[in-house]
């Protein structure tokens, strides 16, 4: 997993629960890297799961709530550091349909070794069906990011339905104009 997800998760923790609590979560999660992440580094994705599990335990918040908070944080980071993701988009659907063709292309330029999930879609009228597929069980992260995207664009579109597979390696989201 690319370091940026982990550095930003730690950043998110420090902002929401404080530096010390964040450090405690890291220490208690016993991640192999000891939480010394760099954006450009490559890490075992299990460390994210370890950190998340430990965060839930430490903060007593639901995993979904934490993840949604993290996804909103990520969107701000994207906006701040990767303006290029937003080029030519003025609504959530136009952003979601170009994940594979534009955003992931840009990611590959910076990080040729990044292992990216796959997003394909069908568009019927104003209704978007987005399918997520990954070798890693992060369907919930994807769900949270879709939600963050809708929120970022002012909730003009709504998530009508979502279906996450048992192993969390795939999911289907249906988004339509509100």
């Amino acid at each position: 997993m690319k370091g940026i997800i982990l550095t930003e998760f730690v950043e998110f923790l420090e902002q929401t629960v404080g530096e010390n609590t964040a450090q405690k979560i890291i220490d208690d999660s016993q991640v192999a890297s000891e939480g010394a992440y760099s954006r450009v580094g490559q890490y075992d994705y299990h460390e994210l799961i370890q950190l998340l599990t430990q965060s839930v335990a430490e903060t007593e918040q639901q995993a979904e709530v934490l993840l949604q908070g993290f996804a909103d944080h990520m969107f701000k980071v994207f906006k701040r550091d990767y303006q290029v993701f937003f080029e030519g988009t003025d609504n959530a659907i136009s952003m979601l349909i170009q994940i594979d063709n534009h955003i992931h292309v840009e990611v590959q330029k910076l990080y040729p070794d990044a292992e990216l999930p796959k997003f394909d879609y069908t568009l019927q009228g104003s209704q978007l069906t987005l399918r997520y597929q990954s070798p890693r069980p992060f369907a919930q992260v994807a769900y949270a990011l879709v939600g963050a995207c809708l929120k970022y664009f002012g909730d003009k579109e709504k998530l009508i339905s979502s279906e996450l597979s048992q192993d969390l390696k795939s999911a289907t989201f249906v988004v339509a104009t509100a």
Partner: protein, 579 residues
């Protein structure tokens, strides 16, 4: 320190430690990336170098192949040039000697056979020329040399050459020159003539009945010293199928009936047009006819470079006896040239090479020296060099180059070497006669002779007698001579007197070119009325427009014409009363 504080301190230390570690991790990664980048860069440079080497190698190989092909092409061209030379020599004999035989007493069948032999040989020359042209064009060795020319005269001459063949097929041959076409333009005369000749010849060949029509126009360009000369050759012939139209300008294509040549003509026309930055196109309806259009960019020329040669007529000019030396090694060619010169009333001294020619020149003076280029012992070029390097009594000889090789711009090369004129074999009698007409010494001699016949006092006296001399018109027109006189005299009185005014002005202003042109023009009109005395004075003015006494001569013309005018008017009045 409380446990809580201790714990917080430990967490802060752990965080600081974590951040430090993360920084080291990032720095290590950065260094790794830098190394990767460096390696990638090295690899790219290596690829680039290999690529450059590959390109150099490929370029070198192409150059070698190109040089080899060029050399093969040069070899082929040289071979063709040599072959054409070899073929021309016997053809020269066939054409020259058959022409002479045609001038002798032959019965009808013999005349017919001889004429066929002559035409056949001439066709072969055309074919060889076409082959050489294609080879030259394909080898990029054709230079386009524009020169100022009276395009009206040129077109009339080109058209005139086909009058006979058109008449033989009962075809109407017309030339229409739009009045927008400038008098003088700059164009490669030889190449333009070749294109138009080819088109008219094709048109006549492919038209069983009806008309061949040459239409010439001009479209001036925005800058005022140029434009496009548009020449259309229109025929009412067999026409060309649409499917063939695309192919007719390709080399080795032939339309129409078989056996009408190698089909190189239109390909040559197209390539020549392209070389002259112009274009050629064809529209056609099968069974109705064809229109070939040639568009060539030309410059208009202000200088009135009137060429005496455009006055050429079919009849042979009479030449004064000339002292001619010919150096020619080939016995057949010697025989042909001797016979041709005899036709022109000339008896040349004949030698076999340049060395013998030099001996002859040292012994006696010649009006003209004709040198074959390829000779044993001493070639034509070497002989010319020897002549030009000699003392003035020898070096000033008028020298004409004679060669069967037209390959690679021989004419320009030989003229640069110092020859005064150039003749190519097979030698046309008319061309030979014109070349000899241009010999300066002979011209002045004949002028001196002609002028010595004029008795000025007597001229005036004759005129004072008050009768117009109808001798010339009578021989030309017989009984109709007075009617003809009534037709042309008014225009002579009107135009020539106007031109005389201009001639006087030019003479007073010493405008040499204009003096020549104007006197040439009046001379033509005078000759057509048989006013030989007047024509002779004008000829002297035309040939020596810079002479000191030119104003005096022009004044003589004026006096003569002033005396002539009432006589002609009286004759005219009488003609009208008779009519």
């Amino acid at each position: 320190m409380s446990d809580d504080l201790k714990q917080q301190l430990a967490l802060a230390n752990a965080r600081a430690e974590r951040l430090k570690k993360a920084r080291h991790e990032a720095e290590k990664l950065l260094e790794e990336k830098s190394r990767e980048l460096f390696a990638a860069n090295q690899q790219l440079e290596e690829i680039q170098q290999n690529l450059q080497q590959d390109i150099q190698q490929a370029t070198y190989e192409l150059e070698v192949t190109n040089a080899r092909l060029q050399s093969a092409l040069d070899g082929k061209s040289a071979f063709l040039g040599q072959m054409s030379h070899e073929v021309r020599t016997p053809l020269n004999a066939i054409i020259g000697l058959s022409e002479i035989l045609l001038g002798t007493r032959l019965d009808e069948a013999q005349h017919d056979y001889m004429s066929t032999i002559n035409n056949g040989a001439k066709s072969m020359i055309v074919l060889i020329d076409d082959l050489l042209d294609i080879t030259k064009i394909e080898a990029g060795r054709v230079d386009i040399c524009p020169e100022p020319v009276d395009v009206h005269d040129l077109l009339r001459n080109i058209n005139g050459m086909f009058e006979l063949s058109a008449k033989q097929k009962d075809l109407q041959l017309d030339l229409q020159i739009d009045n927008t076409v400038p008098g003088t333009i700059s164009i490669d005369v030889g190449r333009y003539t070749q294109i138009i000749n080819n088109l008219i010849s094709n048109a006549i060949k492919n038209t069983p009945q009806g008309r061949v029509f040459v239409q010439v126009g001009f479209r001036a360009s925005a800058d005022d010293d140029g434009g496009v000369l548009i020449t259309k050759v229109v025929d009412t012939g067999i026409g060309i199928e649409a499917t063939q139209l695309e192919r007719i300008f390709g080399a080795y294509e032939q339309i129409g009936r078989p056996g009408q040549g190698a089909g190189l003509g239109l390909s040559i026309c197209r390539q020549l047009c392209e070389l002259m930055n112009g274009e050629i196109s064809c529209e056609s309806i099968p069974g109705r006819g064809s229109i070939f259009s040639v568009k060539l960019p030309v410059r208009t020329s202000t200088s009135r470079d009137l060429q005496a040669s455009t006055e050429a007529t079919a009849s042979l000019p009479s030449l004064p006896p000339l002292r001619i030396l010919v150096a020619e090694d080939n016995p057949t060619n010697q025989k042909v040239l001797t016979a041709q010169l005899a036709q022109l009333g000339q008896t040349p001294d004949m030698v076999e090479n340049g060395a013998e020619a030099m001996e002859k020149i040292a012994q006696s003076e010649y009006d003209v020296v004709i040198l074959d280029i390829q000779m044993p012992v001493m070639t034509g070029e070497e002989t010319l060099q020897a002549i030009r390097d000699s003392a003035p009594s020898i070096s000033t000889h008028y020298c004409i180059a004679l060669t069967a090789s037209t390959y690679q711009n021989q004419e320009a090369r030989l003229l640069r070497l110092g020859f005064d004129a150039f003749l190519s074999k097979p030698l046309d009698l008319q061309v030979l006669a014109e070349a000899l007409m241009n010999v300066p010494e002979s011209l002045s001699m004949s002028l001196a002779e002609e002028s010595s016949f004029i008795d000025w006092d007597n001229v005036v006296e004759t005129l004072e007698e008050g009768a117009f001399d109808f001798t010339y018109l009578k021989t030309q027109f017989g009984e109709a001579h007075r009617a003809i006189f009534a037709e042309i005299a008014p225009s002579f009185l009107q135009h020539s007197y106007r031109e005389l005014e201009q001639l006087i002005a030019h003479a007073q202003a010493s405008e040499i070119e204009k003096i020549s042109a104007r006197s040439h023009s009046i001379k033509g009109a005078a000759s057509s009325l048989g006013l030989n005395d007047l024509a002779n004075i004008l000829l002297r003015i035309e040939n020596k427009p810079a002479a000191e006494d030119v104003v005096a001569k022009v004044t003589e013309v004026k006096i003569y014409m002033d005396q002539l005018k009432p006589i002609m008017e009286r004759e005219l009045a009488q003609c009208v009363s008779e009519g």
